[in-house]
Amino acid sequence: MMSYLLSLTIWTPIVFGFITLAFNKNDCMARYVALLGSLIALVFSLIVFQTFDPQQTAMQFSENYAWVPSLNINYHLAVDGISMPFVMLNNFITVLVVLAGFKVIKQKVALYNAMFLMMTGFISGSFCALDAVLFYVFFEAMLIPMYLIIGVWGSTNRVYAAIKFFLYTLIGSLLMLVALIYLYNQAKGSFEIFDYYRLPLAMNVQILIFIAFFLSFAVKVPMWPLHTWLPDAHPEAPTGGSMVLAAITLKIGGYGFLRFILPIVPDASRELAGVMVVLSLIAIVYIGLVALVQKDMKKLVAYSSISHMGFVTLGCFLFVGANLNTWALEGAITQMISHGFVSAAMFFCIGVMYDRVHSRNIADYGGVVNKMPVFAAFFMLFAMANSGLPGTSGFVGEFMVIMGAVQTNFIAAILAGVTLILGAGYTLWMYKRVVFGAVANSHVAEMNDVSKREFLILALLAVAVLVMGIYPDLFVAKMHASVGHLINQVAQSKI
């Protein structure tokens, strides 16, 4: 079984997704089958997490079979310290998402759960794929379930949001496809991503490939100025959709920078690092300011996601000479994982309130703490994590990136550091307006505290946020070797 572990992690949820579809007459069964599927996938990914050898730089759990022999496309899966944490994060969040939809989703339940399960499988697949086409297939296949999730179960403006999400994501990935086929021809007919690492490429070619990959991944991250789909998609998506979108799909963008852009076109990355740092800083500072003025809670968290992902892209492109900055790079990965937990938690909290009041407007709330004390405590924790309080996971990644930035680019470090205050500003100010004060209106007065199911989800997320905040080595130790390997790879010029 061990040699098929990654396949099992990927295909279990997809198969369970199809099984769930069969229960479209029986909502209750559909929910439990979906939960079972997501739990089994989580168990598989936990086994991967446990048996992973952090000392090795080579890829682990490798599976390699010919898939389309006539084009030399292989079904090649494996993980290293960079991708493995994401697979676990992904499966963990999906369990919560299925749970989060338990009572809330009443329309087309089987389809809803099936879409999430299939998407989990596709996402795990894109983190594990080492064949460019296999990666691309998983990467694109994700669009179909997400399109339906936003469009079918979203709120008022969902159609616009769904189409915008779909087209925005597609444009980037299509250009990436052209770049991949170009590399295929250059590498004498190979789609192995690692073959591209060794491929010598002229500077102008590298820059073009950089742009193609950049468009694809920067849309996903999303980086300023390609971020505009996210504030539209998030508020319209159902709670589960927002959780997956913020917690996992954005991370594929960051992962793409690490797996594709940096090692395949290192010289172009060095050349354009300045531009990337500037774009990241704009995302951190400017989008942080934008978040401050939002009236819609989900929009606020969406903008805060963009701002936090700015730390990720900043961390990816901090060079010291030819070398990437270890602190910053590990910080970027840690930040992605942490943001996965925190943003999922934030969106879930907003979802809990939305289910009771059916409004996302900050102005419609006030004094929630009087009616929902337990919830308010959890929400407080996550709000603090979102503003980067030490002891929570939100602190670790941002701190590491800023540490790295101090070594490389002091101005960037100062700008990024100052923005931590901004993050605390918009999150806590929102928290104050929503939770504290007197009970604002009759809707709030009717709110009742979290149910057992909601408590379970909040507690699991809280544990994750705290464990990562207090003992980040649990994740960081697993990635040292792989990050070091990546840095060596990027340090070599390919011209």
Partner: protein
């Protein structure tokens, strides 16, 4: 005198024979016995399939003074044509009886068009190619016009006929130049040989003729600016006929173009590949952009066909084995996809109703969840989203283009397919995100047809996930 070897043409002969049997049977049966027409049609298609298998010896055979060729390409594409025709009959048979067609006439004319396609695929002589084309086209004009009480259908038939006749004339005019310039050759191999020995002499004259030939050929493919008939014919044709025109006829049309350009006039390159490149890019642009404005699904699919044929033509532009094999792969999978798409629309048209407006599909996921799921898969396949087969079709074309160094064209093509994705996902939007305005009724299609439809759509995923076998098959068709 010596008799020609009739073995390679057995399927064609059998088809012609069956058409006569069908016409006779239709004349001598009463109204209640008309079911026999359908049976005879199916027997004809199955018989041709079996005979084709029987005459396949794995070697290229020529007969009728080398005017008729049976090579791998002809074998393979004819098999696909029979298969898809058979599936199309299953999809449309209920429609044909619901709309009170004279089933004998309908199926006989349909089989005539299939016979025309068989000749187009297997002809090795410019005149025979032309004869096949005319047989095929005239049958289609008739098939559209059979729905004679309908103004739109009559208009579509008239438009198709006039423009089609004009295009055929232009093609013939072009052939006459080649005939003259090569010193009286119509046989494709002879033309090739003559051009080799002529060297640079008469290239001007040949190229002049080539312009007309290309114009005639791309009219049949429906490339911009010779695409005007496509949306009108799709919209005006009753769904049963649109199913046929929109899907399986494309295979024969593409083989027809391959025979002319790669088989006979390949030495005139790069003259025709530049023409084809420009027309293909125009088609990608106009097909996709104009499709956005359509509210009629048939018309939208018409413009989408224009765009798809643009992709097909891009495969030929590379003039490489990879490119041509990608073209065949594309057109076969596109036919399969379009067949399912039109088949679903046909099945959703009960009685006199014709399911053709985007509004008709509103909220389909609530009234017919399975049908909606099938339409969705077809649309995503056409948009080229993996893991559906449309992805690998586009992928192969792009790979061939990049291998031949057309980087800019490849980028242009993907940007155009992004525009295309918009109107495909709009169909999904209408079905899934909106409320039904009227309850659509399914025609009483038999279980067998329904299961074939399911298999058809399942194949879009299966080939999409495991494309290797079909790719290899297409390679084998071309490499010979």
């Amino acid at each position: 005198m010596t008799y020609p070897n009739l073995i390679p043409v057995l399927p064609e002969l059998f088809m012609a024979f069956m058409i006569i049997v069908l016409l006779l049977a239709d004349a001598f049966t009463s109204e209640s016995q008309k079911g026999v027409n359908l049976v005879l049609t199916m027997v004809a298609l199955i018989g041709c399939f079996a005979l084709q298998k029987y005459v396949d010896h794995g070697v290229t055979e020529l007969t009728f003074n080398n005017m008729f060729i049976l090579d791998n390409l002809a074998m393979g594409t004819k098999m696909f044509t029979y298969l898809f025709s058979f599936v199309a009959v299953l999809y449309i048979k209920r429609y044909v009886s619901d709309k009170k067609y004279q089933s004998g006439e309908f199926y006989a004319i349909f089989l005539f068009s299939v016979l025309g396609m068989m000749v187009m695929i297997s002809a090795d002589n410019m005149l025979i190619l032309y004869v096949g084309l005319e047989l095929f086209s005239l049958a289609l004009y008739g098939l559209i016009a059979l729905y004679r009480d309908n103004v739109r259908a009559t208009e579509a038939a008239m438009k198709y006929f006039i423009l089609g006749a004009l295009a055929s004339g232009i093609l013939l005019y072009g052939i006459s130049f080649v005939y003259g310039a090569t010193g009286g050759h119509l046989q494709l191999e002879d033309v090739l040989r003559a051009m080799l020995s002529l060297g640079d002499n008469n290239t001007g004259l040949m190229t002049f003729g080539l312009v007309f030939i290309v114009a005639g050929l791309v009219f049949k493919l429906g490339l911009v600016p010779f695409h005007m008939w496509v949306p009108d014919v799709y919209e005006g044709s009753p769904l049963a006929v649109a199913t046929i025109i929109g899907s399986l006829t494309k295979i024969a049309a593409v083989v027809f173009v391959i025979r002319f350009l790669i088989g006979g006039l390949v030495l005139l390159n790069p003259a025709w590949s530049i023409m084809l490149l420009i027309l293909a890019c125009l088609s990608l642009f106009f097909g996709n952009v104009i499709a956005i404005a359509q509210t009629n699904i048939k018309r939208m699919l018409g413009y989408s066909t224009v765009a798809h044929m643009g992709f097909v033509a891009l495969g030929l532009v590379t003039v490489s084995v990879d490119g041509v094999s990608a073209t065949i792969f594309y057109v076969v999978t596109y036919s399969l996809t379009a067949l399912a798409g039109f088949g679903i629309l046909t099945m959703l048209s009960k009685g006199d109703f014709e399911c053709q407006s985007l509004d008709d599909l509103k909220g389909l996921s609530k009234t017919h969840p399975v049908m909606a799921a099938l339409v969705m898969l077809v649309m995503f396949s056409m948009a080229g989203i993996p893991p559906l087969v449309g992805f690998y079709a586009k992928f192969k074309i792009l790979a061939a283009l990049l291998a031949a160094g057309y980087v800019g064209v490849a980028v242009f093509a993907v940007i155009m397919s992004l525009i295309g994705a918009f109107y495909y996902i709009r169909v999904v939007k209408v079905m899934y995100f909106e409320e039904p305005v009227k309850t659509l009724e399914m025609a009483d299609v038999c279980v067998f047809s329904r299961s074939v439809l399911l298999v058809n759509v399942a194949l879009l995923i299966i080939i999409g996930v495991l494309p290797s076998a079909l790719m290899m098959y297409c390679n084998a068709l071309v490499s010979g």
